[in-house]
């Protein structure tokens, strides 16, 4: 059984106990434990079920590579699925539940799949569930979806917050093991600013577990001293619980800092996403031990040798009392020795190598451990935990020589450098035949903005495994990185580590080498996704030969561990089945993140109130206080209407319109774009930007203008006021202000850079209020300050002066057809003017009105609206706006485009008014049908509705639309099929429905 022992446990604090529950069962652990070590200390060998066959699974690893021990963690708003027990620090009252089983972990109906596994080989679902057709969606797929999917879906809104942090530094070192720390030191000694990212809570890595001596002291003592030294260096920052998640182009490094996962009650953000820019990156990400592929290698109790050693030394947990060790290299002997010295009974070391290992083997033998060379595990027996091991010769098909009962198996298939981060941004790998692994090819690093390599590697991640090589290479790596960014490293001696010579490893991709199909179909490569040796062989046989095909066909390496344990074994198995060397098979692409990172962290601070900027006019809060119903316009929010008590929106809109037409209304028009264009060439410039002539506009006057893009399409419209000889004020649509400003700058800077024009965006300098209606002038005269008589300020003129004691510009422009003044005052006095108007307006029955009333009134007048009548495919000519297109100008933006055959075609749909024959309102976006079907069997259309409203003024539905040859077909009735099943009939009419002569606005 697995239990906590009295000795060892360098990372735990035995003086304090923590309580936690697993599947409701109370358990105890210590501060410093991971959930995994605590579960093992409580003899919880069975921790989950596999994805496909629902096989019983236990903890295999001790770190980020763990494929099995995933749990549902926490409850309610802090619930999180698929948490890796090996990287979850234990905290008091932690609640964990195992995943992917029903009804219970011990008894799981899904396990029937394991019995049927022969019927469910790789890719079986591509070959079946074909008939009957409807069954896929309604029967087969729901079953597959239910049985897949691991953790539960969260139910509540996340109670935590997240944030970003931007850092710019010389060198980022990913990994706080001995290699990372030494690299950081030599880089810092060279004068570089260094940031070290360590994913675990502990700097120092696994060297203290593996032992050895550096500069004459025990490795762990050396590391403690090194950490002290680094902490004292002002140009070194070390962050623990902060994983280097990804490396991106131009030195961008993504860091994932877990601030409160280990202490959920602490204040502050849960995760912090580091967005780092570094000149050089050094990945010192270590290496991951590989499992051995033998039958039953997925049973609870079968564990990586290094993990078993970690649990013993770091946490004082002895995973088995009677242990068998299977290996193809010397490192596993360290585990055997540690276990033996801690009092475990190490029954056998099965060394696949005929000649066995080096000095470590000697030491094990001296401790009295029996070592069988050239031996292998034929099969592991047991149900929910290891019971027996059948031992056979490595060079056999699996015939058992003996059977030994035991309670744990430690396996080691050799080590693979963690090359993920090196590869994220294009770093290439080379195959090391001796060590049987892929390692970074220093000659082909990821390249940065200057075209030179910006990532290097140190330590085990570099492919060095002997402590002596690691410390020497790491020291040098730091100096080199500093040199690469122009530092002049001073001479510092590299540390010297005592060597423990290790014998050469023997590549073992299958155990035993000649394992029969029965064994191969029980030898797991990818634990979580249930991919076995036989599956990869099948994929190869069926022609899924590229490693990408095999991966996708078998799902090898696609689980939440992204193949950290399975990739190399899988590649080797594929290479063997294809009879090609491993390098020619290649690897699949490594993609960020190194381990999964929370969506919350990626979203950062942007949620709720600060999800996106909300733009407020100076009068915003008044609208809010008066129950405005909002309409988002870009990032602005404009009052749609101001419903009273229990007034429906439509009624409110009708009331506002009637009031404007009969008395006076106020519109907050502050969001309108206001661009100041000034210079000797300003007129010439605006003549190019607008379709009509602006240079001839007189100071003091206003003119309505249209803007097109180079593709000829209408992009914006608005009133231009000439302020003086050299300056114009261009009004744009609310949504358009920033784009049009950028549009102007673009043309001035990149095409007409010799023209003398400056542009400034004064949109937010002014609050703009439209005072509209027959009583508008009376109201303003009451406030007093300037002469607004028709004589001094006629339609389409503007004047400067004071209103209610506030400096103001007044524009006589109307978008409603009524007498209308648009008053611009400094933003900081906008609210003052607004309230003054409301107060003074009482006697005239003043009311605020919103965007919908605005839209309806402009439609009654037949004025077009950008975004309604236009959609990015409409040219001014389509809208009968030829009067606003200068014939005199030989050029303006869009003119050439409008001469293209399709744009000049007489068959373009043109703007008309539409009146339903029965007065009802046409449906939004309805199409007018023509005769028959087109070549693709679709109904022929001959027009569409662009805007449609109920007009309270005319008390009937009115609409505008684009219709084939429309203007020549006045009076004709068109059919508009609705999506409600009805067909609407509408007559083509003039688009101006109200006050055709325009007398009302001109008083």
């Amino acid at each position: 059984m697995s239990k906590r022992i009295a000795t060892q446990g360098r990372l735990i604090d035995r003086s304090r106990a923590l309580t936690f529950t697993f599947n409701g069962r109370d358990m105890r652990g210590h501060p410093g434990d991971t959930l995994a070590s605590a579960l093992l200390a409580n003899d919880q060998m069975l921790v989950g079920r596999s994805f496909k066959y629902h096989r019983p699974r236990g903890i295999v690893a001790s770190g980020a590579e763990e494929p099995n021990a995933l749990v549902n963690l926490g409850t309610g708003p802090s619930f999180e699925p698929n948490q890796r027990a090996t990287t979850t620090e234990l905290f008091d009252r932690l609640k964990a539940r195992s995943q992917n089983h029903w009804p219970s972990l011990e008894f799981d109906i899904g396990a029937i799949n394991a019995r049927l596994s022969r019927l469910l080989p790789a890719g079986f679902y591509y070959k079946t569930f074909l008939r009957p057709r409807a069954f896929w969606k309604h029967v087969y797929e729901p079953i597959i979806r239910q049985s897949a999917g691991l953790g539960q879906a969260p139910k509540d809104r996340d109670c935590d917050t997240y944030e970003y942090f931007y850092a710019t530094t010389d060198i980022v070192v990913v990994g706080g093991g001995i290699a990372g720390l030494l690299t950081a030191r030599s880089a810092a000694q060279s004068g570089a600013q260094v940031l070290v990212l360590e994913q675990t809570a502990h700097l120092g890595g696994r060297t203290p577990v593996d032992g050895g001596t550096v500069d004459g002291q025990p490795a762990s003592a050396f590391i403690d001293a090194l950490l002290e030294e680094l902490r004292a260096m002002a140009n070194v920052t070390m962050r623990s619980r902060c994983m280097g998640a990804g490396i991106y182009d131009h030195g961008f490094v993504l860091g994932y800092e877990r601030l409160t996962d280990h202490d959920p009650d602490a204040a502050g953000p849960r995760h912090r996403l580091w967005r780092i820019r570094a000149k050089q990156v050094i990945t010192a990400t270590g290496a991951i031990e590989r499992p051995l592929a033998f039958a039953g290698n997925d049973l609870p109790g079968v564990m990586l040798a290094s993990a078993m050693r970690d649990y013993l030394i770091n946490y004082g947990v002895m995973v088995g009392q009677r242990v068998i060790v299977a290996t193809n290299n010397d490192d596993a002997y360290r585990t055997a020795i540690a276990l033996k010295e801690a009092g475990a009974d190490v029954l056998r070391i099965l060394d696949a190598r005929d000649s066995g290992g080096g000095p470590l083997m000697q030491k094990a033998r001296e401790l009295g451990i029996r070592i069988d060379c050239g031996r292998a595990i034929g099969k592991v027996r047991g149900g929910k935990r290891v019971k027996k091991v059948k031992i056979c010769a490595q060079n056999s098909s699996g015939g058992a020589l003996e059977e030994v009962s035991c309670d744990a198996v430690a396996m080691s298939g050799g080590w693979s450098p963690v090359v993920h981060l090196w590869s994220h941004c294009g770093g290439k790998l080379l195959w090391d035949d001796g060590a049987a692994h892929f390692r970074p090819d220093p000659a082909r690093p990821p390249t940065g903005a200057d075209g030179n390599g910006f990532v290097s590697t140190a330590g085990a991640a570099h492919g060095d495994f002997a402590l002596g090589d690691i410390v020497a290479q790491a020291h040098e790596a730091g100096r080199k990185a500093a040199q690469a960014i122009g530092m002049k490293p001073k001479k510092h001696d590299a540390p010297i580590a005592a060597e423990t010579r290790e014998a050469r490893l023997l590549p073992v991709w299958l155990m035993p080498a000649g394992a029969n199909i029965g064994l191969r179909s029980k030898a797991w490569l990818d634990y979580q996704n249930d991919v076995k040796v036989s599956d990869v062989e099948l994929a190869a046989r069926e022609g899924y030969e590229s490693v990408e095909h095999t991966k996708r066909y078998t799902t090898l390496g696609m689980a939440t561990d992204q193949g950290k344990l399975s990739n190399i074994n899988g590649l080797a198995t594929l290479a063997n089945s294809l009879g090609t060397p491993i390098p020619s098979v290649g690897t699949t692409t490594f993609r960020p993140p190194y381990t999964p990172i929370s969506m919350g962290a990626i979203a950062g601070e942007a949620r709720d109130a600060i999800f996106q900027p909300l733009r407020c006019t100076p009068i915003h809060h008044w609208h809010e206080a008066h129950d405005a119903a909002w309409e988002p316009v870009g990032h602005w929010r404009r009052p749609y209407t101001y419903p009273r008590a229990d007034e429906a929106h439509a009624d409110a809109v009708a009331r506002e319109i009637k009031n404007v037409r009969q008395a006076v209304g106020l519109l907050d028009a502050s969001t309108l774009g206001k661009l100041i264009v000034k210079g000797p060439d300003a007129g010439k410039f605006l003549d190019m930007l607008y379709t009509n002539m602006m240079s001839t506009l007189q100071p003091g006057r206003c003119r309505y203008g249209l803007m097109c893009n180079e593709n000829g399409f209408l992009i914006d419209d608005g009133v231009v006021a000439r302020l003086d000889e050299q300056s114009f004020l261009c009004h744009t649509t609310s949504g358009g202000a920033d784009q049009i400003h950028a549009h102007m700058e673009e043309w001035l800077q990149t095409e007409w850079w010799d023209w003398q024009v400056y542009v400034a965006n004064a949109t937010e300098q002014f609050a703009q209020i439209a005072v509209v209606g027959p009583k508008a002038r009376k109201l303003l005269e009451k406030l007093g300050g300037m002469d607004l008589s028709a004589e001094t300020l006629p339609l389409m003129a503007w004047a400067e002066g004071e209103i209610a004691g506030i400096r103001a510009r007044v524009f006589r422009i109307s978008f409603s057809g009524e007498l209308s003044f648009e008053i611009a005052v400094p933003a900081s006095q906008g609210l003052a003017l607004w309230t003054a108007l409301i107060e003074a307006g009482r006697e005239f029955g003043v009311m605020p009105y919103g965007t919908e009333a605005l839209h309806v009134m402009r439609a009654e007048k037949g004025f077009i609206m950008i975004g309604d009548e236009t959609d990015g495919t409409v040219i001014p000519q389509d809208l009968g706006l030829d009067w606003a297109i200068s014939k005199k100008k030989e050029d303006y933006l869009g003119k050439r485009a409008q001469q293209r055959t399709h744009m000049a075609s007489p068959d373009r749909w043109k703007l008309v008014g539409l009146e339903t024959t029965d007065g009802t309102v046409l449906p939004e976006g309805a199409y007018a049908v023509g005769e028959g079907l087109n070549a693709n069997g679709q109904r022929v259309t001959q027009g569409r509705v662009t805007s449609t409203y109920y007009s309270p003024t005319l008390e009937r539905g009115i609409a505008m639309g684009l219709v084939l040859h429309g203007p020549e077909r006045m009076g004709e009735v068109l059919e508009f099929p609705g999506t409600d099943g009805q067909v609407y009939h509408a007559k083509i009419v003039d688009p101006v429905f109200y006050d055709k002569e325009g007398t009302k606005q001109n008083v």
Binding site: D249, A742, E745, R896
Partner: protein, 109 residues
């Protein structure tokens, strides 16, 4: 995540401070030009796998448009330079040739 140095204010701008503006050094074609010339001006692009000249605006910054010479296959940036020019300056072409021997501007050395 590109970094480009704005030639106007000298800031090493983060991609999120920049707005991209497509291929650089296009010649505007207005009224009187042929259908082909005009549609090439609007739509046809070099889109090379390799050296590419493009327009960027230091939008969250000094607001200036500038040009960048960049490799679309490696994202290497050869140079950035002011936008007020019809073709890449010699210094830029030299910088590119230093990294990509034999490269020529629109096929002419």
């Amino acid at each position: 995540m590109l970094i480009l140095t704005c030639p106007y204010c000298g800031i090493e701008a983060d991609e999120t401070e920049l707005a991209s503006g497509g291929e650089a050094h296009l010649t505007r074609h207005g009224p009187g030009t042929s259908e082909d010339d005009f549609s090439n001006y609007l739509f046809t692009r070099q889109n090379p796998l390799g050296v590419h000249f493009e327009r960027w605006r230091h939008a969250h910054g000094c607001g200036k448009w500038f040009h960048a010479a960049r490799d679309t296959g490696t994202l290497e940036v050869f140079a950035t330079y002011p936008a007020q020019t019809a073709e890449p300056p010699k210094t830029v072409c030299d910088a590119i040739r230093k990294r990509r021997p034999g490269w020529t501007w629109q096929g002419t050395a």
